[in-house]
């Protein structure tokens, strides 16, 4: 009796499987353990939030999206392994964002897999790997970047600071000596003439190794700079600002990653008045406030740092899927990419679209300063980010890099 019952249920499961379409499988390949897990976990939260929203709205082609997490163990080698595993498990879309070195690996892995497996292509949604070459020489049809990059961040930052009168004439550029910092430095120098400032000094220093920034601060002091522009993140940003405060240096910092959780809590009053260009600010309007509250209700905290634009990237993905929802059967990665190119959505901060030439997202950027007047305080301090100026996606867009030679299918 028991045996027949089991047979029947097995049959029923098989029948159900045949009748319904295979659900679309989305894999998150992130650093979820070890010393670099904090950013990876933020992307995980944002991706979960985005997928839950799609599934709450009915999923895709009548099936909820299957979301699977893979731990890349921190580096490109682990990520390569996990991408293979994810594809073997049936994933058609890969999500990742926390590191450009992993992004470079996944982007190339996906390119090669698609070359070798025509008709079974996979899409890589790069939620946050910002290295310029990912939409430059490494660009290809099956990778989409939904985050800003060095050019977008620093063009808007310099323009915005100038227009708001927060930029002095003498600018000091200090950055980390690897591809990101080098990219930022070249953009700061390239924009000097058009925006109207002089770069009085520039430094590239070791990444996350320096404990004492006072020699660099002395250099800044000597140069007579009144504004410091830096793409530094994590400790390199924190210690730099603290060393500048200790030396009573009267400068304003223009940055890109000041909103990393813990930064303001750590820097405290030292950060006050410093400026940042980022794709989100919760105080901007009613829509951003509603989004921030909804995110908090679902995840336990306000969206910060990489989370907002990772969520908007997921919204973009959701909108593209929605445009393909009428058909039945499995969807190909090529269809999703084409849909993404043709989708334009309204996020709480403004319209977001993907540029077909290099698959870089065009998104609004918000110039904001650390202030006690901000409505949303961060890290349990009295400070928050107060929005000063918004650039629309078209205004903040960077030119397509000449090195991107995308081969389109068919």
């Amino acid at each position: 009796m028991l045996k027949t019952a089991m047979c029947c249920s097995a049959l029923a499961i098989m029948c159900a499987g045949a009748a319904q379409a295979e659900p679309l499988q989305v894999a998150l390949v992130e650093t979820l353990s070890g010393s670099q897990a904090s950013t990876g976990l933020l992307y995980r939260t944002a991706a979960q939030y985005g997928i839950a929203k799609i599934n709450a709205a009915g999923g895709f082609r009548g099936e909820p999206i299957k979301f699977v997490e893979y731990d890349s163990q921190g580096g490109p080698v682990g990520a390569a392994d996990r991408v293979k595993a994810a594809i073997a498990d049936g994933a058609r879309v890969i999500l990742q964002g926390s590191s450009s070195s992993v992004a470079g690996q996944i982007s190339e892995d996906v390119r090669k897999y698609n070359l070798r497996n025509k008709g079974k292509e996979v899409l890589y949604l790069n939620l946050g790997g910002e290295a310029l070459e990912l939409t430059g020489e490494k660009c290809h049809f099956h990778v989409i970047r939904t985050s800003p990059n060095a050019a977008i961040r620093f063009q808007t930052l310099t323009k915005g600071m100038k227009e708001l009168g927060l930029m002095g004439d003498k600018v000091y550029s200090i950055n980390q000596n690897y591809s990101w910092g080098v990219d930022v430095q070249s953009i700061i120098k390239a924009n000097a003439e058009t925006v109207g400032y002089t770069v009085v000094g520039e430094t590239l220093h070791e990444v996350n190794k320096i404990q004492d920034f006072s020699p660099y601060v002395a250099q800044i002091q000597q140069s007579g700079a009144d504004t410091v522009l830096t793409g530094n993140w994590s400790n390199d940003l924190l210690l730099l600002m603290k060393a500048a405060a200790d030396a009573k240096l009267k400068v304003r910092f223009g940055t890109s990653f000041l909103d990393q959780p813990g930064n303001i809590g750590n820097a405290g009053s030292v950060a006050e008045g410093n400026v940042m260009s980022a794709p989100f600010n919760p105080e901007l309007n009613d829509a951003t406030k509603a989004f921030a509250e909804d995110y908090k209700a679902k995840t336990g905290h306000y969206p910060a740092y990489v989370e907002p634009y990772a969520v908007f990237g997921m919204d973009m993905f959701a909108a593209a899927l929605k445009s393909l929802d009428d058909a039945t059967g499995p969807v190909s990665a090529n269809e999703i990419v084409l849909a993404l190119e043709n989708t334009k959505i309204e996020t709480p901060v403004g319209s977001l679209s993907i540029r077909a030439e290099d698959h870089q997202a065009e998104m609004p950027m918000i110039i904001q300063e650390v202030s006690k007047e901000a409505a949303f305080k961060v890290d349990g301090t009295e400070y928050g980010f107060k929005p000063l100026k918004v650039y629309t996606g078209a205004d903040s867009a960077d030119p397509v890099q000449a090195t991107c030679k995308m081969k389109r299918p068919g």
């Binding site: 897990a37 490109p76 892995d109 290295a131 336990g300």
Partner: protein, 405 residues
Amino acid sequence: MLKKLVAVIAVLALLLALPALLSESMLNASVQMLIAALFATAFALLCGQAGMLSFGHAAYFGLGAFATVHAMNAFGGDGLLPTPLMPLAGAAIGLISGLGAGYFSTQRTGTYFAMITLALAELLHALAPHLKEVFGGEAGISSFRMPAWGFEFGSTIEIYYLVLGWTVLCIALLWGLTLTPFGRLVLGLRENSHRLKFLGYNTHALGTFVFALSAAFAGVAGALQALNIEAANYVVLETQVSTAVLLNTFIGGAKVFFGPAIGAAAMTFFGHVTSDLTRSWLLYQGIIFMLVMMYLPRGIVGEILARFRGEGGAVNPVAVLARFAGILVAAAGFVMAIELTQRFFSTDYKAARQAGGWPAVEFAGHMWAPFAPLTWALPIVLIAAGLGLVTFINRREARRQEAQI
């Protein structure tokens, strides 16, 4: 001898048959395990057999990987260096850089030697991000495995056999080396280098050469990794890679030939399986290393071999089984405590608490409430029972051995 031969043939047959037995994902894990095994065996030539503890073997592994990626791009899988022979590029760069680094570092022994190897590796690690042309910047250098010799080299199965071939060949060469007079001299270097010097051997030249050989085989391992992931990134030069091979070698047993390979394969497999199951897998890995160092200082394989040779008295199978059971029970309790703690402090739990109250979390198919006595009593009881059993068995065995004397 015959027994050993049969064992080796059986293992080889199993390795050859693996693609038919495993899923794609597991086969890929096997590729990683083979690479880690070769790297650890190459490392153990220096660290285990010659007694020189290097803290910087990531450098030679990484250089091998980068040389291979550049060779892949330069030759396109054709001509002088077709795809299957690519690891020769890794071996060459490993040998050359190993000769240079070995010349300097083997001037000193012990801690100073370790410090020099660490410094050289860190030098390379600090330099690499600045040399975008050579090391490719943050996104790394990528390449493409081109077809050669009638093989596509596109599927995991083909790359598995390629890596298997090279790993078996290299480990066989390293094994053969231990049987030669040179291999004996290497052991002499570890046991008493002063005496070796008095006998008229040039210990510095010998040390340099062992270092270079070890680096060359590490370069092959790096090359195989570059072939497998078709890319190289400067993060491969990080200290973490040097430490991982060191941990693997000591967990397996640095002084027995197959110990490092087995240790590396086991730990790679452990990482592959557990990293998708739990966020705390690095903690468990660290604890395993600590326990092995404290209670099995000869490494897992070294300790098992010692027992087979009859060291430490006759083995009582019942006692061994009981100890295992005790350790498993205690480990289950410990894992439960860690996993529950981790879940209660996670951001997911913080989000779940939004609705108010203290919801229960899922672990091993059951729900556990944070303030229920059973949630915390069960792991404590398990740990106490497991450790109690092990202590009891140990005391009884000790008494029995005393009685025998």
